[in-house]
């Protein structure tokens, strides 16, 4: 069971982590765009 939880846990962390990275990158790009306009 720990192996199964580890596999699904890693999947969740990778996908949620990447989604949060994209969200942060989008926010930073929007702020940069507003600062320059």
């Amino acid at each position: 069971m720990p192996w199964v939880l580890a596999a699904y846990g890693v999947t969740g962390v990778v996908l949620v982590g990447y989604a949060l990275y994209l969200r942060a990158a989008r926010g930073a790009a929007l702020r940069d765009q507003q600062r320059r306009s």
Binding site: W3, V10, T11, V14, L22, R26, D32
Partner: protein, 248 residues
């Protein structure tokens, strides 16, 4: 039935992504609905894994890793093929939107390929007694991962340049040629690999087939949503870079 649903999801996701890439700012709003669909599918998939899929007789409970390892394969291949499609369309039209699609396909494909390469050893250790073996399937998958990590490095070192866009488009089209070697590695190795056979030919019990099918559909829509978000971020970053160049 499940195979048809998986194929339909692949075709629908590809059609939506091509439609979206043609006008990212005007159509990105539809990504919300795709995101909601993906989020709605996740609990269905997990409930099927936990309560519907039977416990396999030989491996026991650890075989449940199958339902997360196999679904990660389709977005990996899909991402790299999308990168080649986007690269080809960029070379043909020289429009930045197709370049954004190509880069997004490569990046999200690498995310799912990483997932596959991390989850695989977590399954291999309890099932086969070792984390890794240099067999043809595993080695070819690692080579595929390196090819697209190199793509992303090449891209990040020359961000915003037309030359980099052209080189990475050609590189992405060439890189996709490795996928058949990964898929058919088991046939090429003639059973001398840790993987028993390609899952599509295993003839899974119906409960297992339906569960892995729902997992594939879930991952396809998560993938499509991530591609859409990555395209949006890429476009915003490109505009910021263009404004910097304009000021300079």
């Amino acid at each position: 039935m499940v195979t048809a649903a998986v194929m339909l999801s692949v075709v629908a996701a590809l059609a939506w992504l091509l439609w979206l890439a043609a006008d990212i700012p005007g159509r990105i709003g539809t990504a919300r609905w795709v995101g909601l669909l993906a989020v709605a599918l996740i609990p269905v998939w997990l409930l099927l894994v936990a309560y519907y899929a039977p416990i396999e007789a030989v491996q026991g409970i650890i075989q449940k890793i199958f339902y997360v390892h196999i679904p990660a394969i389709i977005p990996t291949y899909f991402g790299f093929i999308l990168s080649a499609i986007g690269g080809g369309l960029y070379l043909f039209t020289r429009q930045e939107r197709w370049d954004q699609l190509a880069v997004s396909g490569a990046e999200v494909g690498v995310v799912f390929c990483t997932l596959m390469l991390v989850v695989g050893p977590i399954w291999a250790k309890p099932a086969w007694g070792q984390w890794w073996a240099w067999d043809l399937r595993l080695t070819m998958t690692l080579i595929l991962w390196f090819i697209y990590v190199a793509y992303l490095f090449l891209r990040s070192f020359a961000f915003g340049s037309d030359t980099a866009r052209t080189y990475t488009a050609v590189y992405g089209i060439a890189g996709v040629c490795v996928i058949p070697f990964v898929y058919f590695a088991l046939d090429l190795a003639q059973s001398a690999t840790m993987h028993p056979t390609n899952p599509a030919r295993e003839g899974l019990p119906p409960e297992m087939g339906r569960t892995v099918g729902v997992g594939m559909i879930t991952f396809i829509w998560i993938f499509a949503w991530l591609i859409a978000r990555r395209c949006e971020v890429g476009l915003l970053q490109s505009r910021v870079l263009a404004s910097r160049v304009g000021v300079a």
